[in-house]
Assembly symmetry: C2
Homo-oligomer: 670 residues x 2
Amino acid sequence: MDLWLLKVLILVAGVLALGFVGYLIATILREREGTDRMKEISLAIRQGAMAFLRREFITLAGFTVVVFIVLAIFIEPKPLVAIAYACGTFTSALAGFLGMNIATKANARTANAAIGSWAKGLKIAFSSGAVMGFCVVGLGLLGLSIIAFIWQDTHVWLGFAFGASSVALFLRVGGGIFTKSADVGADLVGKVEKGIPEDDPRNPAVIADNVGDNVGDVAGMGSDLYESYVSAIAASMVLGVIVLGTVKGMFLPLLLSAVGIVVSIIGALCVRPKDVEANFEKQVARAHATMNIGVYVSNILMIIASFFIIRVYVGELGLFWALISGLLAGFLIGQVTEYFTSAEHGPVKRIAKAAQSGAAVTIIEGMATGMMSTVLPVILVAVATVLAYIFGGLLGIAIASMGMLINLGMLLAMDCYGPIADNSAGIAQMAGLGKEVRERCEALDAVGNTTAALGKGFAIASAALASLAWLATYFAVAKIDVASLTNVGVIAGVLIGGMLTFIFSALAMRGVGEGSFAIVNEVRRQFREIKGLMEGQAKPDYVRCVDIATKKALKAMLLPGILVIAVPLIIGFTLGPEAVAGLLIGALVTGFLMAVMMANAGGAWDNAKKYIEAGNLGGKGSDAHKAAVIGDTVGDPFKDTAGPSLNILIKLVGKVAVIFGPVFVMLVAL
Amino acid sequence: MDLWLLKVLILVAGVLALGFVGYLIATILREREGTDRMKEISLAIRQGAMAFLRREFITLAGFTVVVFIVLAIFIEPKPLVAIAYACGTFTSALAGFLGMNIATKANARTANAAIGSWAKGLKIAFSSGAVMGFCVVGLGLLGLSIIAFIWQDTHVWLGFAFGASSVALFLRVGGGIFTKSADVGADLVGKVEKGIPEDDPRNPAVIADNVGDNVGDVAGMGSDLYESYVSAIAASMVLGVIVLGTVKGMFLPLLLSAVGIVVSIIGALCVRPKDVEANFEKQVARAHATMNIGVYVSNILMIIASFFIIRVYVGELGLFWALISGLLAGFLIGQVTEYFTSAEHGPVKRIAKAAQSGAAVTIIEGMATGMMSTVLPVILVAVATVLAYIFGGLLGIAIASMGMLINLGMLLAMDCYGPIADNSAGIAQMAGLGKEVRERCEALDAVGNTTAALGKGFAIASAALASLAWLATYFAVAKIDVASLTNVGVIAGVLIGGMLTFIFSALAMRGVGEGSFAIVNEVRRQFREIKGLMEGQAKPDYVRCVDIATKKALKAMLLPGILVIAVPLIIGFTLGPEAVAGLLIGALVTGFLMAVMMANAGGAWDNAKKYIEAGNLGGKGSDAHKAAVIGDTVGDPFKDTAGPSLNILIKLVGKVAVIFGPVFVMLVAL
């Protein structure tokens, strides 16, 4: 096939994604924002979120400049890697900005649409999630393919992927700390001390809490998966060039991704909520089923399409099976996540039952559940990796990680739907909408909790596979044939890598602790100093809470950010390139396990609390409920801060290794 | 030097240790048991502990027979490996039996001696701990050296070490589940529901609780370190034969251990408590200092002695420095453990302060503390390993693990002192001794808490180094030159190995959950059905509680026991010998990190609670205290069950690999 035609096809798919985003935005903006009160709240959330982004981006810009200079000085080809890095940073930041901006515009509109009908609400929220989804895949594919079409140099492509990591570090780790600082801080004073309900507008931290949903779950999740997506494609391209030659190796991953975008758009278009009279449970189940149709359609189309593409383009089907291994592993890990975190199954019920024996037993049972929940994901990733390798060697592993992410547009739409529905429920509450509408929004929110749990499991699994793809790429780039466990440097690397996970988690959790402490003090101060606040006659200073949480988040991510970049370099320079491979696998195995454990324990505690609140085992206010609330509070930084941060850790150490791999090797040669 | 002379010297050191044990036992038995009430309680604890041991040993015997048959059929040289295995099992069981029997005879005597003077109490408790310490090193050295003198075959030596592992699995994991089932069960009904104090004789689970201290902390700890001790020596011998030749390789480790025993005896003899008038804190500090003298003396003597031995016997000092690396790493890890778990330093105070914000924050802060506490131990182990390797290759790593354990007699005496002092305080309370005596016993107990924390850190570190020594041995035995991370089987092995840690921890914690649940029901039943129990007019049925906890513990360890043996075999037979190396390192890195995290978080929560109980931050009964109690309860299965169980896991998978390594290799060759 003519290369120009291929290039055009790939670019068209990227543009198509952005065109689809435009269509979605038009759909969303056509809906009204509702009452003045709703507009006002939505505006406050948007302003808060944008204030957070602005400050993050300023720090990020500084960070980028420093890394740019380092890359421009040290990494060949100079300064192309640095330029690609800057492009990667910019496109990722742009995707985060656009997705979150629309999300904050869609929250009030979702609530307002829900006044009309439940299906309309679902449509707006899903469309808004899809904006993030298709911004990510569209900008990711466009950015990477343009870079690749201009410079056919594997190191340059890696630079682009490295850029995506920097943004993910800031948005995922910083966002994670922000969101839980605000959430825990708002709850500790609002719910516990003052006895006012969740999302009460009198609570000065309430806007920060809603901002957090957007910052952590929309922008953070988006940038995390942007990184995984770009990583998987870039790693496949680099290894593809080695295995299949420059042309085929470069075009195959891009072509598959382009088709993935098309089928994802078809999938997203198949999500057509219909209005039917139903009770709460049925509405939730229906909404979930409606979105699942999109996933199934895009998965099936992708399987068929990739079969033909690989068959025609490569000539044999090994890589097709590798792709399918990744796709299936991702799907199945989602199912496992749901089993362990949904209130309909045994594990969550067990935790709820344990809550009857008090908080300590709740924590122990939740930890044990989280630990047990690692078993199948690990086996699935291990099996997928081994199969992918058998079918396609190291390139097979990279292609498997692409398989998991190939329908990302559709999957991310479902993930990002959650926080928007959550926000809409908050706005319905704060704006005092009618009971029926509030219930509809809460049903939308309940679906969002399930899709969010699935999304978390998926994000972790894809991070694990992506980081395995980086390991494979590292071997190729640093020209390492053997990194043997008989080499004591490799063993030391494994140990240090494992330790990185623990230090990273600890710092993230401490960040939440300090952030929420600062919020608590501020909220208490406002209740004390602003007269008439408790009575609803005066307005709290929302901006200050957002500001405090932002500052704390940025401060708390400094050390983890430095560590994740510095430690691989130190190990590479002292113990050598093989030890870095050990470091990657040490970080991967502990980071993957801890991330799954934390995400699932956190999700299970959350739903155990909700299960009790739904009237089981004594219901709200019972001793079991109090114990479950403690479990949920412990779970918050687990599932929304430390756990997701580990996704970034395991991918970022891999990228640092890949980018600086040639330097390590050069030093050894000296 | 004449080999016969060497052999005699080594055997004499072993016999000397047992002779010293005899002397210690005589010292202990010379002391009276005190009042009839004290005799009665001590007898009940001893009977309970022995009942536990009897049932464990019956199951263990069945297990041993099965393994014996498997080894006799499959493992060359047949049936010598099987015979050595049986000997290893027998000597370890014997050490556990003797040490625990004396410990249960020393508890009332310690309390009674404390009536006379504080120094006398300390002496009895320490002597009793030393019985365990010197039983372990004496029987370990004698057993291994006799086996080695009869059969000069490395595989046979490994069989002996494998036997030690089986016992450790039963006593450490089973004992850990027993002790916390009884402890948590006793507290939940006694302290929480009935409001009666700790160690109140009306509580039907009180004897089971005291039995648990002996079962988990004396027998469990003893068998754990017996395993590490024998492992380190056996691994050094196997690698020594390869590097230094049959004679030197075999004799050097045995000779060093023999000298280690002698200097440990000298160290133990230097522990001479003196009576001085002092307040509680000073008494505690003094007791600690008194025992530390023994540690310092034996360490210094050992450094001097090993310098000359290695210099003369090997001719160059590489292995001496390897030994010192291990010895120093062990010592420093003890210091780190103390920093993170003692109430005198920042971390525990931070947790206590966090308790003012409620249980959830206490848990989060404790987890973060536990995670941070892994950093230095990991770095120390990594540095010690790298240094040992630089100084002495793979043999250097094994010698480093010996260095950590070379003074085990003295160190274990200090560790096992703790539970005996704890028991004596319980007996003083139950028998209603005077306030002054009770306070003395509590001071002895307080020292025990510190030495126990040190002991835990040390047990983990030595397990990590021992399992690294096993990895090195595995490479030698299975003739693996390369186990590269570029091999996808190795990566899958790492992932599966990491997962083993999580599944093992989860099962251990679940075991405690189920055990304590059963105890709670039984204690409630007794309070309900036995009339006059609460009024102190009727006696509870202590035996039944011990029986229930024993049964639950044995049942709960079935699955982890099977997994730890089956999974390495499955991986070896399916993915091959290199993948097993991956499994070992995966289990090691996660197991080591999680064990340190759990032990230190648990210890820190425990001491944060005690810090508050000492009158700080609101003292007993305050909200902070309630939160700290929840932290402590979560920490119990962390530090006393799941954490220590991981020591066994990481060593046992290594042994299974080493024993079956030749079979894996044979299968590949087919």
